[in-house]
Amino acid sequence: MSQKQYWSDLQDLKNIATKTEVADNEFKEELPFDLSDSVFGATTPRRDFLKFLGFSTLAATLVSSCEMPVRKVIPYAIKPEDITPGIPNYYASTFVDGGDYCSIVIKTREGRPIKIEGNEMSAITKGGTSARVQASVLGLYDKARLRHPMADGKEVTFDAIDRVIKEGIAGKPGYLVTGSIMSPSSKEVINQFLAKYTNVKHVVYDAISYSGMLQANEASYGKRVLPGYHFEKAQTIFSLGADFLGTWLSPIEYSKGYSVGRKISAKNPTLSKHYQVEAIHTITGAAADERATCRPSEMGAVAVALYNAIANGTEPALKSAALNKLVKSAAADLKKGNGMVVSGSNDVNVQIVINAINDKIGANGVTVNWVTTSNYKQGIDKDMADMVAAMEAGTVGAVMLHGVNPAYDYLDGKKFAAALAKVPVTVSFAERLDETAQKCKYIIPDHNFLESWGDAEPRANYYSLMQPGISPLFKTRAFQDSLMVWMDANQTYADYWKLYWVTRIGSQANFDKALQDGVIEPAGEMANGTLAFVGNVGAAVSAIQAMKPASGVEVVVYQKVGIGYGGAWSNNPWLLEMPDPITRAVWDNYLCVSPKRAKELDAELNGFNEVETKKKVAKVTGANGYTVNLPIIVVPGMHNDVVAIATGFGRDAKVGRAAASDATKGGKNAYPFTAFNGNTVDFYSNVKVEKTTELYEVAILQTHSSYEGRPVIHEFTLAKFKEDPKELQKERGAEMSHFEHEPWDKNAHHGGEALATPEMEDGYRKNGTLYPVQPFEGLKWGMSIDLNTCTGCGACVVGCMAENNISVVGKYHALRSHEMHWLRIDRYFSGMPDDPDTIQTVFQPMLCQHCDNAPCENVCPVSATNHSSEGLNQMAYNRCIGTKYCANNCPYKVRHFNWMDWNGADAFADNLFEDDRRDDINDDLTRMVLNPDVTVRSRGVMEKCSFCVQRLQDAKLTAKKAGRPLIDGEVRTACQQSCPSNSITFGNVNDKESEIYKLRREEQVERTFYVLEHIHTMPNINYLSKIRNTGAIVAGNEKLDGMFSEHI
């Protein structure tokens, strides 16, 4: 049976009373109606009703008798030649944020960027995006961005401060601190600057440091670089704490590669094998075939055990049996070739052992590329520590900071801030008044990347150009321009950059093409090669073994997929409202603990369950005395001795309204829990966790909808799938076969085994209902979602928000189940909560299924939702009167009601619903991001996924204008486009040549299923079953193993 028991939260598993109550109750609060028998005795009697009726009639009359407003239509004074109002322009560009890279296409309408899409011409990111890339367009219109240069907190002109700064940086030793710089031309500018000011040193600082890896590679291969990783070529992947699908180095690139090995069909039943050892629960761990947990301080021991098992065949002797089993099995698989080992550890010795393993298994030159190396991270922790020491000593004359915020994200931000105060000239290029910029004397805000010219070299010899999608909105200046002004260069950076590239690639024509393509890449397959391993494994192993044994509770400082290291993302409402894939919580950070540890903290179930929004708060004290109080979120799959806190929260109020934090909101800073080990920064440390009596509300979206225990996912092991690929077809056939033919037909099934086939689906469609079947002439849209490649990264969720003007509701309303996401990614656990090594996690993107026999359509009293001839479940907002019957009747719970006017509430005075942190979304600047082709919904109407109907209509119109049929793949939904793992297929099912038709009817018949198919909703979205390359799918079934009784 593929129907193992899944649970969306611990309450689901235990079916406790509060959960049932919430599931039964549609509304979180009491309804404001008095349902008592006596009409006159009621609190809202007939007279009040009449009063309200009279008032609303009068109000409606008054409003409607107002004169129509006179609207203006204002054409361009001089129309730019390349802009046609109503038609988007696309510009290839590059998303760069420190070491994060993505080749993108900016969609602009009437000259303003409104959407970011992946650039398919890039060999690195191949058209994929991430949640942060999708949300970056909102960052352009961030209200908290600085609007002019400042000196001592006052507005000044560039000219005025340029002179002062130029004098200030000459003479005494100075530092230019930047994040990792991938841009070759910027590096050139910096080199010229350093040549002019020989007293200035360049320090690269990464908040999330890869210093250990860089130094290990230098020790192992003589080059301080990061290799390229080819997940697409890997048959065995062993990840030691590296969240390569979510946050590690270049997740978009790795997701694209990883998904290649995770595509499976009955004809080609092969899968890569993915082992994951981690301390916390990441989305990479969720995707893994075999997963075990260990303490972060034990990562080295695991690496050594794996090395020994591969090199000498030594039996691993680690702390847990699950780890031993996993390491042993991984060693055997890795030896087969095409393996790859990656580690998220920032310890030099651990990384040297990892390098040794990759060398031993022959990964170098195959899956680990030492020729086309990566430039994502370049920071060395020691350099930064030395600089802070020099600053403290008072010998530094000037510090210039670009793209970094050490006062917030350095391991001791306070120390850094104090040291900075001793420096006479401090210059920040920050785009907002972040924690560091506040402490700087001069601020010269840099452009947003969507306003900038630039370039990047993410991998050796693979270049990517950056061009602006809009002129700078504010009085900002490119950081390179500032350096060039100070070194008296007589050209701007934009001119310099252009000349640089025209010279480099030969001609203006080449340059124009490169700018149009967005990338400059060598032809043919990516160059690959190896380096000779010269590292001293023995020394590294002994260093690891010499580490003091782990004890007590360890905290892991991790990055959320959405917010990441912090930076501008902390103030991005789209990302704050994107649920964390694992915890599904929004707007906060918290203390992730395992269920067992939570029990010890006396906070299990009723106290901190996901239904009850008020969570118990724990007090966490670090070794350095840093203390925070954070709510406890129970995360199955966490190591029992590990707690975790996400970075990017606990920001200063001036970072932005959404980021602002205090005791009552916005979480806490996790960076002070990192520790310097003398060489590199460890992103874990020992902490003391104590319970408190406080409570804190956290909004978790997972439990907001319930399937009432109906099965929605099908999962098999690879072995089982190979043995009987048709098992799912049999299961579905058992449900549908009765309806394949009419009951009186001689071929009618009456019980017995039958395989679900597309033909049976057709029969079921017709015979499963009394209503006539709607014919779909011409077009019929369909979507397929592959649960095997979906990593739950959330790029689609934010992509959908950007495309469809989806409202941000804020924490208060998220707590009340009022979130508006058209597309959510449900997360289901299975396994035994007390044993983190048994937890298996599945993601399921859930959106409107566009049912051909839709339950929502039948119940709408005004026919505001109905079916189109193309199979779309249409929602006419202006017709909706807000009865919410449809949402109640939707078995998939994908309809969302607008309880407030989320986007235009400030049109009337005092009309704005105030949530504080979300409210900057109601601003003229922020509203520039809205897609003009999609209605902005107002209060009182229902909404849901439209299959990006504006894109469908646009593609149809393009085809009609050209007088040709629609081409398959021409139209792509926003979620499909943003997906970095190609999990979504979309197209016209009536077109027999289309990918979706072939997939459903030919290639993936065995894996295709529809959610809640047996209730005859006939969805237009199908899913492909999850196949895990593992020995067994853990049951986690109470009846079978009785694991849970001790939990109560």
Binding site: E777, S869, Q950, Q953
Partner: protein, 420 residues
């Protein structure tokens, strides 16, 4: 209502006939000149290009002329001496190529230019839709007549009653006690019912029409006459509203598009043919309006050049037109879909725009009006290969089971065709 429909249909037919007639006859030199040449050439004045009157006499030969018009750049590139000379003379501004013009059409244009005379006084031409005004006043007349007749009936009835009473008194026949009208139960009941029905009708109709602006004709910041441009001078609609075939917006042209022609045309010379007047009857000086345009466009008519700032940017300010055709925000309308794909004439929705000095909203722009058209309008089903996927309809058309495919057959009545 019927009369209005009839009138609009009639005028539509007239327009269709006229446009068809133009296609069927020999090439119309004037129309061709207006749509292709007028933005750069004047028949008798030098402008961006030379004056066209008798220009054919300067051609080396007729063939050369055709070649020049179709692709002057090729001639210049080939090193033709005459061509290069002209090119140099006009500041190396290449003439737009017109590869689509046939020999006959080029001849027609030249013929028109040669025969062109500067406009002289002529009798004003009566407007085509001139019958509209009297029809409106008829209604008033009928009302007055009806009311006076009703009054007459009441007077006669009262007089009759009075006489009856007098006669009764005289004959000593007892007269029934008269109940005043306002106390008559029948009258009260009937009146109440009538008031209810009429006020209900009025209220519902009012609510339905809320926000609709048919016949809306606001005063614009600049008196721009579509009649002068699209009607008398026959400039193609798409010349200014270039977005109509490409985009959802038809586009109001920016003032530099106006300047393509108005660099040369600096005076309105048609006062006698077609004096400009606002709807209120105020006389408008066309030349003054052109001067106003220059102000917006940043054009210095004396220097014959744009006013520019230090960086060389033209100092133009956009004209803030009053928007006439307003659709609610939740309605998606796409011009290209209708003009390019549906081949709908502009006039079908915008009325006889070429007859309007000041534009007014011709259609109600109500949903019922849209839906009605979608129900009736046949799509370009067989001409556009996009529709090839609708195999069933093609078969039905072939077998004669179906005579036409309307927009409604293809889902044109569905909510999400316009609301998303």
């Amino acid at each position: 209502m019927f009369r209005k429909c009839f009138r609009s249909v009639l005028s539509f037919i007239v327009v269709m006939l006229l446009s068809n007639a133009a296609v069927m006859a020999a090439p119309d030199g004037k129309a061709l000149f207006m749509s292709n040449c007028a933005s750069c050439h004047n028949p008798i004045k030098e402008s961006t290009g030379p004056a066209l009157q008798n220009i054919d006499k300067t051609f080396p030969n007729k063939e050369w002329g055709y070649k020049w018009v179709r692709n002057s750049a090729a001639l210049i590139a080939a090193g033709d001496k005459t061509a290069v000379d002209i090119y140099n003379k006009y500041n190396k501004t290449a003439m737009t190529a017109f590869p689509n013009l046939s020999n006959e059409e080029i001849d027609a244009i030249l013929k028109y230019a040669n025969e062109y005379k500067a406009p002289v006084t002529a009798a004003p031409t009566p407007g085509a839709a001139g019958g509209a005004a009297p029809a409106e006043s008829n209604g008033w007349l009928y009302t007055v007549i009806t009311l006076s007749l009703v009054l007459l009936v009441i007077i006669l009835w009262r007089a009759n009653q009075g006489l009856q009473r007098a006669a009764n008194e005289k004959d000593n026949v007892p007269t029934e006690k008269e109940i005043p009208l306002y106390r008559s139960k029948l009258v009260i009941a009937v009146t109440a019912i009538l008031i209810f029905i009429f006020s209900g009708y009025w209220l519902v109709n009012g609510a339905v029409n809320e926000g609709r602006q048919q016949n809306y004709q606001p005063l614009q910041p600049l008196y721009y006459s579509h009649k002068v441009h699209a009607g008398i001078n026959q400039i193609n609609c798409l010349y200014c509203h270039a977005g109509a075939e490409k985009s959802r917006q038809a586009m109001i042209p920016s003032s530099n598009v106006c300047m393509n022609c108005h660099k040369q045309i600096n005076a309105y010379t048609g006062e006698t043919d077609h004096p400009l007047k606002t709807a209120e009857g105020k006389v408008i000086n066309g030349t003054e309006q052109i001067q106003l345009l220059y102000k917006y466009a940043g054009w210095d008519p004396v220097k014959k050049d744009y006013n520019r700032d230090a960086k060389g940017n033209i100092l133009a300010t956009p004209i803030q037109w009053v928007k006439i055709h307003n659709l609610p925000d939740h309605v998606y309308f796409n011009h290209a879909q209708h003009v390019k794909v549906g081949q709908v004439q502009c006039q079908q929705c915008h009325g006889n725009i070429e007859e309007m000095d000041e534009v007014y909203q011709f259609s109600p722009l109500s949903m019922g009006w849209c839906i009605n058209c979608h129900r009736q309008t046949e799509v370009q089903f067989t001409n556009n290969n996009y529709y090839s996927i609708f195999t069933k309809y093609h078969e039905e058309l072939k077998s004669g089971k179906r005579t036409k495919v309307t927009e409604a057959d293809l889902g044109g009545l569905e909510c999400q065709k316009c609301h998303y």
